[in-house]
């Protein structure tokens, strides 16, 4: 990431924003971020196409957490049963039918909490600095496309974005100083 310009374009509809992303993809520009007030399927499809991304990795966190939960429950229930091996009601020391419930609950608990952690980790949250180019209208009713480029590409990209339907394009100088990029 070099010192350069950030072009902040504003769109009124997610269709146009998705078109802008496709245009950037065709122009082989990959250093961009899209902002939206809601998870628009069109924008998400366009960006995953442009970046060659698959589905979110959060699901692996959830799977791992769930399996950990089941194993923890087995260890807890069966382990403590054998530690204090009292015959209760003629049941086996480690009676599986009731323990299934504990396994299920812990699977969900750990799966859910791991999912939350995964989500925060992969989204770089909590974020203490504003992402370059963020405007508060992007949370309200506008869609944003922020492209980082060098000085000489500015006019080419500006016309590209305007063709896609950008209402407004602002420029901001980008100063790299270890500011976390919001990938």
């Amino acid at each position: 990431m070099s010192d350069g310009i950030a072009l902040i374009s504003t769109f009124s509809s997610d269709d146009e924003c998705a078109q802008g992303i496709e245009a950037l993809h065709r122009a082989h520009v990959h250093d961009f971020s899209a902002f939206a007030p809601f998870p628009s399927e069109k924008i998400l499809e366009a960006t995953s196409e442009a970046r060659g991304q698959g589905r979110s990795p959060v699901r692996w966190w959830v799977l791992t957490g769930g399996i950990t939960g089941i194993l923890t429950a087995i260890a807890l229930t069966v382990g403590t049963s054998y530690e204090w091996n009292l015959n209760v009601g003629g049941r086996p020391i480690a009676s599986i039918p009731p323990y299934i419930i504990i396994m299920f609950e812990l699977m969900i608990l750990m799966g859910g909490l791991s999912g939350l952690l995964g989500f925060l980790f992969h989204s770089c949250l909590p974020a203490f600095d504003s992402a370059a180019g963020y405007r508060s209208r992007f949370g309200a009713d506008k869609f944003g496309l922020v492209v980082r480029c060098a000085e000489n590409e500015v006019s080419r990209l500006e016309s590209l974005l305007r063709d896609a339907g950008a209402e407004d394009i602002a420029r901001e100088a980008v100063i790299t100083q270890g500011v976390p990029s919001h990938h």
């Binding site: 009601g89 003629g90 039918p97 009731p98 299934i100």
Partner: protein, 404 residues
């Protein structure tokens, strides 16, 4: 498509505009008739050979099995109307309703249960105390169950007729999401769904639970009609997979999400089934009342029934749950189709182990008698389903209006 070039312009004008469907109905018809013949011959032979017990018990198993698929299919269509599902036009509705013609036949076949009643109901040959025979006696039981079957068949006929009518088809293809279905369907769908729950609980209590008169489980009726519903979902998934393969390219079942939807239906209701099964198992295990536990012990823990007993939950839950968890496998026809077939076998096995161990706890009588009777019922079911399946094929054919 050159094989379908008309011989002349006149023929072209007369030829229907839809692309011809490539399912070989004739062959299916022949197979069904052959199965039916095997069934009838086997039935007569078995009765002659003194195997009346096995004949009538298998008769009951098969009647409940196929009747469940047929009725629950209609109820599935009702459910689609109630949630106003219009994600794939009229095709899901046609597929759900395609098995319904077995229902009037089931009313007739119920007579078989009456004929074989001495071999099925232990409380006929070993009468219960008078306070219980008020409910479990031959005239009352057959009158109420026969009436229930008749009412459900009539209502289903009315419903299917209305659902295949032009108003309903137009509604299923309309885009507006707030518009309600036509009035007849709006009234019939909830009535059939509610009556289904009550009548199939009645059948469960009368025709399955009463075979072990000392046993009871309040959840049994609900569990039974949930099983029937799942069997219909699985039958629909299986049919969808076959249609996808056999109808021309671009047919409605090749749409990217339709198999996914059937897969989700199979997956979700399989989980619901194991939940209801576990709820019963846990309560009975925990209470440890001998009057309740014997039912499970005979079927799950004692030879000779335990392998078949465990086979049912494996085929109905373990396989669909593990195999169909990922999105990709739900969309893969071969996988969905295999799970569906295994599920259909699993449900048959379930009904078999519900009914027969009550009457033959120490001996597993499965053999040619069971196979013949089942073949006969399968043949009859296919013959009844053929008209409905043809309607599905024409609605789902490439270019038909049911597609998009």
């Amino acid at each position: 498509m050159s094989a379908n070039q008309p011989a002349s312009l006149g023929a072209a004008a007369v030829r229907p505009l839809r692309a011809p469907v490539q399912v070989n109905w004739q062959r299916l018809n022949t197979i069904a008739i052959a199965l039916l013949a095997i069934g009838l011959i086997g039935l007569v032979a078995a009765l002659g050979a003194g195997q009346a017990d096995r004949v009538w018990q298998t008769w009951l198993v098969n009647l409940l099995y196929f009747m469940g698929i047929a009725q629950a299919g209609v109820v599935c269509s009702c459910a689609f109307y109630l949630v106003q599902g219009r994600w794939a036009g009229s095709v899901p509705y046609r597929l759900a309703e395609s098995f319904w013609l077995f229902l009037p036949l089931a009313v007739v076949l119920f007579a078989g249960v009456f004929i074989g009643r001495d071999h099925i109901f232990p409380w006929i040959t070993h009468p219960l105390p008078p306070n219980r025979t008020v409910w479990l006696n031959v005239p009352f039981l057959f009158a109420r169950d026969g009436a229930a079957l008749l009412i459900m068949a009539l209502l289903s006929a009315w419903f299917v007729g209305a659902s295949r009518g032009p108003d309903a088809v137009r509604w299923t293809n309309s885009a507006s999401d707030i518009e309600m279905p036509p009035p007849a369907l709006r009234r019939l769908a909830p009535i059939i769904a509610i009556l289904y729950c009550f009548t199939y609980s009645l059948f469960a209590f009368d025709l399955v639970m009463s075979l072990s008169p000392q046993w009871h489980s309040t959840l049994f009726g609900w569990w039974f009609f949930a099983t029937c519903f799942w069997s219909a979902a699985v039958a629909m998934a299986f049919s969808a997979v076959q249609f996808r393969r056999l109808l021309g390219p671009g047919n409605a079942f090749t749409a990217p999400t339709i198999l996914h939807d059937y897969g989700k239906l199979v997956f979700a209701f399989s989980v619901f089934w194991i939940y209801l099964s576990f709820a019963q198992y846990l309560v009975i295990w925990y209470g440890d009342f001998p009057a309740e536990t014997f039912f499970l012990l005979v079927r799950l823990w004692h030879a000779p029934w335990s392998p078949l007993g465990w086979l049912a939950p494996i085929l109905i839950w373990v396989v669909p749950f593990t195999v169909l968890m990922s999105v990709r496998s739900k969309k893969t026809p071969r996988i969905l189709g295999t799970v569906a077939v295994l599920g259909l076998i699993g449900v048959w096995d379930l009904y078999y182990i519900l009914i027969v161990p009550a009457l033959s706890p120490n001996k597993l009588p499965f053999g040619w008698v069971e196979l013949c009777v089942t073949a006969g019922f399968l043949g009859a079911f296919i013959l009844c389903a053929l008209p409905g399946l043809r309607i599905v094929a024409s609605a789902a054919a490439p270019g038909a209006d049911g597609g998009e």
